[in-house]
């Protein structure tokens, strides 16, 4: 079981189902990206987790406590989650510092206000860590996590080891100190007295992140936080943010339609389409072993060929290639037509000694500096594209030999 467990989540408006039986596990301390095209329901999923919209069926638990379930719909403010919306959404009437401190209790009295009824301050906040704002205040998490838990390929069980509640070190951390801490964390210490309107897009998004982190949420929800930024800034900021979230050992759920973003940032990627999760796995798993051709095409470039299955190999225009059957438990009978799928970078040039190779003529080159996507016409007029590293590109009209580096993927037709 993950730190966050979503089970059979369904959101429907009348007859239209926006989310259909979505189940997802988020291991503690990891960043999970939900990747899908516009309108696939990923933002709805995020809002349902946040409690900002009611669900039709299903349960959501965070750290073992039920926040959404049959008859349970905990208010968003009582879920202990952080929210970073697409457009930063800073409060325009507050300074940067006040924005960061917005979710922090203002003083002793208002601190008590955040406790739920029946949980008037008692000496057992540790037991209720995460349940109340005050409980969260008393919890420290970063130091408690095993260091190797952050590595993406560590066995999932490792991350799920119960985390001991550390003694409350942040008790003495006053509100102002926490604001300063976060402002310097996101590198904006100089700007705490500025108005949000004086910030650039990237700075605003950092403040938004700091604001969400300030109350030490159990789960960070990031709703395409980088799409509104220009491309150069986007890639720089997202690397920085991912590193920051990892340093803080935050459990995060990121929603995006940008496959590069999902693959490069996340520990796990969930590919979503039409309200359903099609595949959940590590970025490498999703990219190299996509469950179906649609997922393959959505997360990256593909080379698709018709082929015939021959006992662990496929016959296709590139020759007879070793292949993995992706269509279910048992491999099909020999001679079954299949769809052969490769990544352009799995094709290699001029490897005359390679076991498998095919003659091809270079017909087009899409030059991209560091590499190029080169189109080759095979005998029979079939065109395939290969990604070729930049120095030593073939020229148009060159006759080359094509090899394949990795087992091809074979999918059932239709």
């Amino acid at each position: 079981m993950g730190w966050v467990a979503i089970d059979g989540l369904r959101v429907a408006y009348g007859d239209t189902r926006v989310l259909d039986d979505v189940s997802l596990r988020i291991p503690r301390g990891s960043l999970v990206a939900v990747l899908g095209p516009s309108g696939c329901g990923k933002t709805t999923l995020l809002r349902a987790v946040a409690g900002l919209l009611p669900v039709t069926a299903g349960t959501i638990t965070v750290g073992g406590r039920l926040v959404t379930g049959p008859g349970v719909q905990r208010a968003p403010e009582k879920r202990g989650m952080g929210w970073v919306p697409q457009d930063a959404s800073l409060f325009p009437h507050l300074t940067v510092g006040e924005n960061i401190g917005f979710g922090l209790p203002r003083n002793k009295q208002s601190d008590d206000l955040y406790c739920e009824s029946g949980e008037a301050p008692r000496g057992v906040f540790g037991l209720f860590a995460g349940l109340t704002r005050r409980g969260r205040e008393y919890r420290t998490r970063p130091a408690a996590l095993p260091v190797n838990a952050a590595a993406s390929d560590a066995p999932a069980d490792n991350r799920l080891a119960p985390v001991p509640i550390a003694p409350d070190r942040s008790r003495q951390n006053s509100r102002a100190a926490r604001i300063d801490e976060l402002a310097s964390l996101v590198g904006l210490s100089e700007l705490v007295d500025r108005a949000p309107s004086q910030l650039s897009g990237g700075q605003a998004q950092r403040v938004s992140l700091a604001r969400a982190l300030a109350p030490r949420p159990d789960l960070m929800l990031l709703d395409e936080p980088f799409t509104a930024l220009d491309p150069l800034l986007r890639s720089a900021l997202r690397t920085e943010v991912a590193a920051l979230l990892r340093d803080q050992h935050n459990t995060s759920l990121l929603v995006t339609h940008d496959q590069e973003e999902a693959l490069s940032l996340a520990d796990f990627v969930a590919v979503m389409r039409g309200g359903e999760i099609l595949q959940f796995g590590t970025p490498a798993n999703v990219y190299e072993r996509p469950v179906n051709p649609w997922v393959a095409g959505f997360v990256g470039d593909t080379v698709e060929l018709d082929g015939l299955w021959r006992a662990g190999r496929v016959e296709c225009a590139l020759g007879t290639l070793p292949a993995d059957w992706m269509g279910g438990s048992s491999a099909p009978a020999d001679g079954t037509p299949v769809l052969v799928l490769l990544r352009p970078e799995w094709l290699t040039l001029a490897a005359p000694l390679a076991e498998q190779q095919t003659d091809a003529i270079t017909t087009a080159i899409a030059y991209a500096g560091h590499d190029a996507l080169v189109s080759f016409t095979l005998t029979g007029g079939i065109v395939v594209r290969a990604r070729v590293a930049a120095p030593g590109l073939p020229r148009i009209g060159d006759r080359v030999a094509l090899g394949v580096r990795q087992n091809a993927l074979a999918y059932p037709l239709g």
Binding site: L53, P76, W83, P85, D87, P215
Partner: protein, 525 residues
């Protein structure tokens, strides 16, 4: 030609839009509160219908076809139609001059052309009577009313023209249309909704106006209602006339709704290169300044000339004047506060949620917009006598009448104030641990404050100037500046009326000045 107006298909769909607010479901308690608030606005109309039908249908029809009633109705319709048409033409021309011709002092000119709005119609009529005491009848009423109402068309049309794509007109020109036909084909459809909305305001204003037509002695339904009510032995007659007037107003509103065809916004350069005035400059200036001069300068100068006469100054009853000022301010303030409080749930609902029920609640809240002041006044007289006699002839009923009449202004500006606060800020605040009410207080209300304040001030200004409802409902012994001005003028004591008119102009300026201040700061933020 319509092909030109179809907006181009979006080439690439933008990132998925924010989930519409309706997806979150309307909270039932907000619906209930808003419905309750809107229901208060429906009291006068409902009660009027009840009161009229009590008399019986046969008698109703018999009264309806009396020549007297017919004559009043025809007069009213004639005046409203004539004023609406002339305002539409003059206002559109003024707006076109303001936006498309490079005149000196453009910003000042825009401000000046809005000025007649600040002058209540009866004040303008008074001002003209000071100069020409024998002015009366249809043409006089038509002229003064047109001058007072033109800005209702000028301002929205000028705004629409500034936002309209001028590229379309250029395209039409290159395709062989002359200037006028190009304007009609390309630009008019874009500004038509604004022009019609403005014309609706003019039409409702002239239907429901009481002070101006009474002073200029042109007998319309409002005049008839007041006369029948004053005669007091025949209050059924007054109620019936009021009902006829309401039906006329509702027909106008319904007609405007139907003709409000939505035209998709056309992207493109919004500004047509303004051309130099050339020889037409003086002519443009004359057209532009006609309404401000006739609607403001002539009456105010007339007023001042009377005010500064030694005889008038000597006769000013200072305690009485101060009393009237205090009553005016107090009533307006009370009306503003109550109207905003009642408008708040309706505006919050309309700003954040959609749906049939929400639309109905908002429409009922806007009912006061279509109800003439004299009708609300009359209906509340009946209502107070029958339902809450202890409040009859107290300020409570009068304030309530103001609230019903002017709540639409409050709803409008409070709603846009709330709608301007991004819903995502509310989400963020909830996610940071604030309850819905804390969120409302610390985020939404805080940011919508300029809109709320504007709503309150608009109500205050309108309440200060309101005449017929005040006349019918004011508590005995209480008079406001408007009623004092009215009773002096009715007796042709123009000199004695002058101090009250001047005080009214000055007092009404206070919220107007505050208003421009708020708008200024709101823009800076």
């Amino acid at each position: 030609m319509t092909g030109l107006l179809i907006p181009p298909l979006k080439a690439d769909a933008p990132a998925p839009p924010r989930r519409p607010a309706r997806f979150r479901g309307t909270p039932p308690w907000l619906l209930a509160v808003a419905a309750l608030c809107a229901a208060t606005a429906a009291i006068p109309l409902v009660y009027l219908v009840v009161r009229t039908t009590e008399a019986g249908l046969a008698e109703l029809l018999a009264t309806l076809v009396r020549p007297r009633v017919l004559q009043l109705t025809i007069n009213t319709v004639m005046l409203a139609t004539a004023v609406t048409l002339s305002c539409l033409v003059l206002g559109t021309i003024c707006a076109w001059i303001l936006t498309r011709i490079r005149l000196p002092f453009q910003r000042t000119l825009l401000l000046v052309s809005a000025l007649p709005l600040a002058v209540p119609s009866y004040l303008a009529a008074y001002g003209w009577l000071v100069w020409f005491p024998h002015l009366n009848g249809f043409w006089a009423s038509w002229f003064v009313m047109t001058m007072v109402c033109t800005p209702y068309v000028t301002l929205p049309v000028a705004a629409a023209l500034r936002g309209a794509s001028a590229d379309l007109e250029s395209v039409a020109r290159t395709l062989g249309r002359g200037p006028l036909r190009a304007f009609a084909a390309a630009t008019w459809p874009q500004i038509r909704p604004a022009a019609i909305a403005g014309a609706l305001l003019v039409c409702l204003y002239s239907l429901s106006d009481f002070g101006l037509v009474s002073m200029l002695r042109f007998q319309t339904l409002t005049w008839g209602i007041n006369a029948a009510y004053g005669a007091s032995f025949d209050r059924n007659q007054a109620a019936l006339l009021a009902l006829v007037l309401v039906v006329l107003a509702l027909v106008v509103v319904a007609g405007e709704r139907r003709s409000r065809r939505q035209v998709g916004r056309v992207p493109g350069r919004s500004t047509m290169p303004a051309r130099a005035p050339g020889k037409t400059g003086p002519l443009c200036a004359v057209v532009l300044l006609a309404a401000p001069i006739a609607g403001v300068v002539v009456p105010v100068v007339g007023l001042l000339s009377r005010l500064l006469e030694a005889e008038t100054l000597r006769a000013i009853d200072v305690p009485r004047l101060l009393e009237a000022i205090a009553a005016t301010l107090g009533l307006a303030l009370a009306a503003a506060v109550v109207a905003v409080v009642i408008a708040l749930p309706i505006a919050a609902l309309a700003a954040r949620y959609q749906g049939r029920l929400v639309a109905v609640i908002e429409a009922v809240g806007f009912l006061g917009h279509a109800l003439p002041g004299i009708v609300v006044g009359l209906s509340l007289v009946f209502f107070a006598l029958a339902a809450v006699p202890m409040f009859y002839q107290t300020s409570v009923v009068l304030v309530f009448a103001y609230v019903v009449l002017f709540m639409p202004r409050a709803i409008g500006s409070v709603r846009s104030g709330i709608a301007a606060v991004p819903a995502s800020l509310g989400d963020v605040s909830r996610m940071l641990g604030l309850s819905p009410f804390q969120t409302w207080w610390r985020v939404t209300a805080r940011l919508a404050l300029p809109g709320i304040a504007i709503g309150a001030l608009l109500v205050a200004i309108s309440a200060m100037k309101e005449l017929p409802a005040t006349l019918l409902l004011r508590p005995t012994g209480v008079s406001t500046l408007a009623t004092e001005l009215w009773s002096r003028t009715a007796l042709f004591e123009f000199g004695a009326a002058a101090p009250y008119a001047a005080a009214l102009v000055l007092v009404a300026m206070v919220p107007a000045v505050l208003l421009s201040g708020i708008r200024g700061t709101a823009r800076e933020n």
